[in-house]
Homo-oligomer: 305 residues x 3
């Protein structure tokens, strides 16, 4: 049972096997048609965001409301007692008394995992440090499944910040459960870490690491782009060097297959030219909608009686 | 049909003709008596405020709740992905997937208009730059209508910051649909812009521009005061010169007609002396209550099935 | 009747006599078993927090949702019109039009009292300056009552910042209605003010003021610790001198009675060592849960038709 297995929450993409993913994607798909507006009546979701967010927080909150629940929380650590020096552990042990589930985003590595050690209610990791963002990766898979019809047999390029990108890490882990060919495309300084590389080898995932994307555009079913995240760089000079390494332009679409799709977790800065937005192949805004459905499914699974 | 005409939302006072205004004011008045607490059940309003707000945001949110709906959003751009460099267009194309209507306040001229070009759901302009704040002007008209019994035949003074005041601009536009005598009262440096002046001439509105208000106090039915907005001045020295140009005092009331009313969109700083607050003629707090009703009417009209 | 007596709200612990406290504690206890999820349907609570908060704001909001109501408000004065120079009085006279009750936290002494003078709806003081935080003190009493079985006959130590601690002030006032032995433990520089001392003398409360806690640990039924609040110090050097004056360690528990309980309004910084958390005697997180029930009781009493 999903609820039983994930009773401590969703902390890492590594908790999911193929069966779990397929089950959740099926539930997410059902939410496209209809959601029960009374399912979570009386339940309260706490959204604790210590880093800025648009999509993740608002889609969780919208999902909760669509299922009849309520939301408390904060949009910045500045307005909480963390500002007075309170530890995250104490905050969690307090907020769990006011809610039925906590969604947390924090810049600290392992923040969500730590939270789940202290809480008796489920914790959902909405991004912790540069390591994990599992619900983003789950919605990415729902998007691919619905738009490409399958998850097996696809050639998927993952491009941009492969070093600090927490979305990339969670996505790679989830995709390792399927028969995919992965192309990791990045400037050398933002390449996969050894930890990620070893994980992929160990999982026997077929993957290549390259620096340019144009040569392989015509073999890709999916190109998943990511933002170079200024806030993860200690050295801003290093950021300046790589920030505009890739800019996907309209002409690039000419080299892609008919059923090719371009994805991005957003926000995007300059890495996808706005002229690409109107193409049927650009599905990054649609992706945000799949995010709503997937998060409705997660909340329904974890919280419904 | 109101809903059909305004399906892209409420961006500018210029969208409204006399019939639209009268229809909405009638609907706003009905909300005074009773509001259907289940009308917008299951609907979600997004309130995206990139500038501070008390009245506009809270009254929209209260209105939504009173009609049974829910609210998501942010109270400052600092907590959103705008902080990471995301464009407003991308934010809108995301949030529209999580909500049924977006209320937006932004310091950029034309922000709401731009948002409505990108969104498939209605956008409500809650203040964009120094040009427009149409729902404030609509609630001002509801206040005048209910308190004075009519909109035609009135002498209305509009005083303060006529250059940067977005409320003033929207109000003038709406009033141009009625038979009114307008007095625009301001220091020279904050006078109407040519754009506004030409619009009024073209609409054949009867208006005068003057610098002092005492000489005309006894002819006015309404005096609409506004704050000198520090945040719109590039040159703070210029602000210091004009910030206390007008201070409405209790004695001023002696010169006014029996049915005279003093209005203000609020916040007020020093331009109305607190001793005036207790007068029956001071209706600026009542005005905030009309704001709730008017916004209930707007949400009901735009969002009810 | 509670509702009638407190129709202007809960501003000070001094409003409560023994009967009021016992009534509210009984109502708070009832909320532990069950809360009517439709009791406050259609009601709106405004939470205006001008200072950071985790427990107070979130527990009030959770309480409101659990009783079927809705919540509007702001988490920081920065996002409100206060930022533009609006007075608190004007903010209150606006927000009361959008809500049925206002919970306010402000760094200014007497802010809540002032708010209640201007508002026609009940105001709840969620902490104003360094003087009062009555609902915290009420939840503290509910905690003591439920955990110790009684409020009379107890020996209670109150330790830490007795000068600036608003929780301490409200708690002392409430406890003065019961037969208790109070020990006020603090460094000299943070001792009770004359005002507090005189109040206790006048109420004929049995109390002692001491600087060390170890000698009396074995006589205490309750030790209520508080944080040394950095934000209340004008002179940060003075803060540095006293910030680590007390650190309650695991060994300290050895000297306590079997039914001893350690309380803290939270947040705690270093004054209770984390190793204490797992003791049955450490009830500060449980205390936050009693806070939810007590605030449910308050909202139910003040707002139910």
């Amino acid at each position: 049972m999903f609820k039983e297995k994930f009773k401590e929450g969703i902390i890492s993409a590594k908790q999911f096997n193929r069966e779990d993913i397929e089950y959740l994607l099926k539930k997410g798909k059902e939410m496209i048609k209809t959601a029960n507006p009374n399912l979570l009546k009386g339940k309260i979701l706490a959204t604790l965001f210590f880093e800025p967010s648009t999509r993740t927080r608002l889609s969780f909150e919208s999902a909760m409301y669509r299922l009849g629940g309520s939301v408390i929380g904060f949009q910045s650590g500045e307005v909480s007692s963390i500002k007075k020096g309170e530890s995250l552990a104490d905050t969690i042990r307090t907020v769990e008394n006011y809610s039925d589930c906590i969604v947390i985003r924090h810049n600290m590595e392992g923040a969500a995992k730590m939270a789940s050690r202290f809480a008796k209610i489920p914790i959902i990791n909405a991004g912790s440090g540069s390591k994990e963002h599992p619900t983003q990766a789950l919605l990415d898979l729902l998007t691919i499944k619905e738009e490409c019809g399958t998850l097996d047999g696809l050639s998927i390029g993952i491009m941009g910040d492969l070093k600090y990108g927490r979305t990339v890490h969670s996505l790679s882990i989830l995709l390792s459960n399927f028969e995919v060919n992965l192309y990791f495309i990045s400037p050398k300084v933002l390449a996969l870490t050894n930890r990620e590389r070893e994980f992929l080898v160990q999982q026997q995932v077929k993957f290549k690491e390259i620096q340019g994307y144009r040569d392989i555009l015509n073999v890709l079913d999916v190109l998943y782009m990511t933002r170079i995240q200024k806030e993860r760089f200690v050295d801003l000079e290093e950021y300046e060097k790589v920030k505009s390494f890739y800019i996907f332009k309209k002409e690039d679409l000419d080299d892609t297959k008919g059923n090719f799709v371009l994805m991005h977790p957003l926000p995007r800065i300059t890495e996808i030219s706005p002229e690409v937005d109107n193409s049927q192949k650009a599905i990054y805004f649609k992706q945000t909608l799949y995010g709503l459905y997937l998060r409705e499914a997660i909340l329904a699974e974890l919280l419904a009686d």
